[in-house]
């Protein structure tokens, strides 16, 4: 009985703590961070949006996407991103990785199908298709492809846009990042920025 009374008394004190904590940690803290971020880093805080020329913007009406998010590429003449399990592909309201296990028959079938499709599209053998091209990313929003997958797509993109392969290869290099500090992550090619650059080069 004494313990129950103590539990009740401490719960009442706990309720007061919860009210104060909600105001301080749940309202003041996130709003303060939001305020500072919006003033000092508005482009980042609003999603790192870019325009059709690659310029930074915070206005969604001017933007063609976020420099951090992958997007579906409907133009067969541009660089294609990795497969995506988010909704019908790159759906930001349904982010998802396939969650297929390594022995999943569904995954094995999907990998085979993608290898065949990409090999045909790029005119190479299935053995030349790199792993990232045939696997869905964790987020379903991966903005990058590997250097190998980008290189594989160069001839097709060059031909479709009336550019030489050398020019396209140079654009790929310009939009490739190595490992951060030489050790973190993997070398990667930013697909949206690269496609913007290709579109602009084709127009010039």
């Amino acid at each position: 009985m004494k313990d129950l009374y103590a539990l009740f008394r401490f719960s009442l004190a706990g309720l007061r703590v919860m009210v104060v904590a909600t105001l301080v940690l749940g309202v003041a803290y996130p709003l303060l961070v939001t305020g500072v971020a919006q003033v000092a880093l508005p482009w980042r805080a609003d999603g790192s949006l870019v325009t059709a020329t690659g310029a930074h913007t915070t206005d969604p009406d001017e933007a063609v996407g976020s420099s951090l998010l992958g997007q579906l590429v409907d133009d067969p003449g541009l660089f294609q991103p990795r497969p995506s399990a988010a909704g019908d592909g790159y759906d930001t309201l349904a982010t998802y990785g396939s969650n297929y296990g390594p022995e999943s028959p569904d995954l094995v079938a999907a990998v085979k199908e993608r290898q065949a499709e990409i090999a045909e599209r790029e005119g190479v053998s299935t053995g030349e298709v790199p792993p990232d091209a045939v696997t869905a990313s964790g987020s379903g929003l991966d903005p990058h492809v590997s250097e190998a997958y980008a290189a594989l797509q160069v001839p097709r993109v060059a031909a479709a846009n009336g550019l030489t392969e050398d020019v396209v290869r140079r654009l790929v290099d310009e939009h490739t990042d190595g490992r951060t500090l030489g050790v973190l992550g993997e070398p990667r090619v930013d697909v949206l920025a690269l496609n913007i650059a290709v579109t602009q080069a084709a127009r010039d």
């Binding site: 980042r44 609003d46 964790g138 990058h144």
Partner: protein, 554 residues
């Protein structure tokens, strides 16, 4: 193996960051938990809250406070979930179902952060920042408080059963440690690309004329405390794989660092609190050894990429982000399961069979390598008591730890502690695998299907929160089962730890004699690591054999 050098490099960078900061934070924490001085802002807080921060509580009062406070936390979060359609910034989302709201409430109050829902499709901004984020601070502070109370009881020499003051422990760590570090970390994450706004999703027209909504939200502020407090509950469904939560390889390393900072610092603080730094260093060494082994195994598994699908594709990239790669994902996976965080930067369900097995084993160890904030330390100290006891039996002396005798009552409490989570995991898994509602949630069949169910129950019972995401857990069956596992997996061990703290606090410290096992030397470090692996690990060998091991061998 040209990729091996960067994999080692990222590990060295992490070790360097931790080596530079852990002793400093450890010293700070030790002072915070033993000082009787209050800051001005804390005094005001205590007056507003009408609590007495100087009352030295008995273990019973301390435990009752922890339970009462957490009970209120569950009720408040449950109410927010059920009422979210009436709250501002709800983005038009309806109330959570009753079983779902129960699961979320327990999940975040127990520092588990199991997520059955998809953040961007179920929760408004207010629920995320004023419901979930608040508990990410408080549940972390509660875990740390219990560990501090246990450490103080070991250090005590006045024969009282008192263990300190819960309110002071709670308020101080939030005010002096969690809030300042989270604020700075949140802004650093925004610098790297995390979003931080209160916007609804707004459409952009993509480069090729499609439509893509850009999702907003107070993400950076949640991400910071999510990692720092070893919580793991992400703003979005795909957690730290989402570029808005974890934008770059650098943010990836930073988030891994945040997860490890406090668990290791608590071990360092422990040594200072009991008046012998070497004791803290020994505990820290065991934690680091176990973590290092699991990092090595997981990194090897993911970089080698065994399995039908990874071998066909040429690499284990399913469920992984190109910017992190296999090594960056493996390091994150080992750290998030070795701490009780449960955030993921790649899909654990798609890890290779041995990789997923290591992640599961990390949790089965009881979250001690280095474990959750606070819970990792008290979990490891319980095993230290077991180690001393076993060694005492071998040489026929009365076992004692740091001058406190381990008698019958003490070892009963420890035994109950060691048994609690295995019982929850094994009974919970058995229930899930025999109920049709349990099996209905599995995506895969065979050994991997078994792993999906066992991983979920293991994760909930050990308050980790990561999952094999193929499991559809947003059903009344799974929400109820996992909710119970999280609740008992958190608070039964806490009460046992505080009970033992009471018994240790009541003893005066005996001077070390000729028969005392030194608990700061390499021999003890190896014994403790061995006990952790044998006593806890062996419990799970049968179920591991049927899941990840048989899958690895197939």
């Amino acid at each position: 193996m040209s990729a091996l050098a960067p994999a080692l490099g990222q590990l060295l960078a992490l070790v360097a960051l931790l080596a530079l900061t852990v002793p400093f934070l450890g010293r700070f924490l030790a002072h915070l938990y033993t000082s009787d001085k209050h800051l001005g802002v804390e005094r005001v807080t205590y007056r507003v809250l009408r609590v007495d921060p100087d009352a030295d509580q008995t273990w019973r009062a301390y435990a009752t406070t922890v339970l009462g406070f957490s009970l209120v936390g569950v009720l408040v979060l449950f109410a927010l979930g059920r009422l979210q359609q009436h709250l501002p910034l709800s983005l038009g989302f309806p109330a959570l179902p009753a079983d779902g709201a129960w699961n979320v409430a327990v999940s975040f109050v127990t520092n588990t952060n199991w997520q059955w829902y998809s953040g961007e499709a179920a929760l408004g901004h207010l629920m995320q920042m004023s419901g979930l984020t608040v508990q990410q601070f408080l549940s972390a502070a509660v875990g740390m408080a219990v560990a501090a109370a246990f450490a103080r009881a070991l250090a005590r020499n006045d024969g009282s059963r008192r263990v300190g003051n819960f309110w002071a422990d709670l308020v101080r760590v939030v005010v002096r440690v969690l809030l300042p570090i989270a604020f700075v970390a949140a802004l650093l994450l925004v610098v790297m690309g995390a979003v931080q706004n209160l916007l609804d999703p707004h459409d952009v027209t993509t480069l090729t004329g499609g439509t893509q909504p850009i999702t907003g939200g107070p993400v950076g502020s949640m991400e910071a405390i999510k990692e720092l407090g070893t919580n793991g509950g992400g703003f979005y469904n795909v957690n730290s794989a989402h570029p808005f939560e974890n934008p770059t390889p650098l943010s990836n390393l930073f988030e891994i660092y945040l997860m490890l900072l406090i668990p290791f610092a608590m071990a360092w603080a422990f040594g200072i609190i009991v008046g012998d730094r070497r004791q803290g260093a020994a505990v820290l060494t065991v934690m680091a050894l176990l973590l290092l082994v699991s990092i090595s195994l997981l990194t090897w598994a993911e970089m080698a990429g065994p399995g039908t699908a990874p071998e066909l594709a040429g690499g284990a990239m399913e469920g992984k982000e190109q910017r992190f790669g296999t090594a960056g994902t493996a390091l994150f996976a080992a750290v998030t399961t070795g701490t009780s965080t449960g955030a993921v930067n790649g899909m654990h369900d798609s890890l290779t069979a041995p990789g997923g097995g290591v992640a599961m084993f990390n949790m089965m160890l009881g979250e001690i390598s280095p474990g959750g904030v606070g819970s990792g330390l008290y979990g490891m100290l319980m095993l230290a008591v077991v180690t001393v006891f076993l060694s005492g039996l071998m040489v026929g002396r009365t076992p004692e730890y740091l001058g406190k005798k381990i008698g019958q009552r003490e070892i009963v409490l420890v035994a109950l502690y060691v048994l609690t989570t295995p019982v929850l995991v094994l009974v919970g898994s058995a229930v899930a695998l025999t109920a049709s509602d349990g099996l209905a949630g599995l995506q895969e069949s065979g050994p991997h299907g078994l792993s999906e169910a066992v991983y979920a129950v293991t994760s909930a019972s050990n308050n980790n929160g990561s999952g094999f995401g193929g499991l559809t857990s947003g059903t009344p069956f799974w929400n109820t089962l996992l909710g119970l596992c999280m609740l008992f997996g958190r608070f039964l061990p806490m009460v046992l730890v505080l009970g033992l703290a009471g018994r240790f606090g009541a003893q005066t410290r005996r001077p070390a004699g000729a028969g005392t096992l030194p608990t700061h030397q390499p021999l003890f470090v190896l014994l403790l690591a061995g006990v952790a692996l044998v006593v806890v690990g062996l419990t799970y060998v049968p179920v591991l054999a049927l899941g990840p091991i048989v899958e690895s061998l197939s």
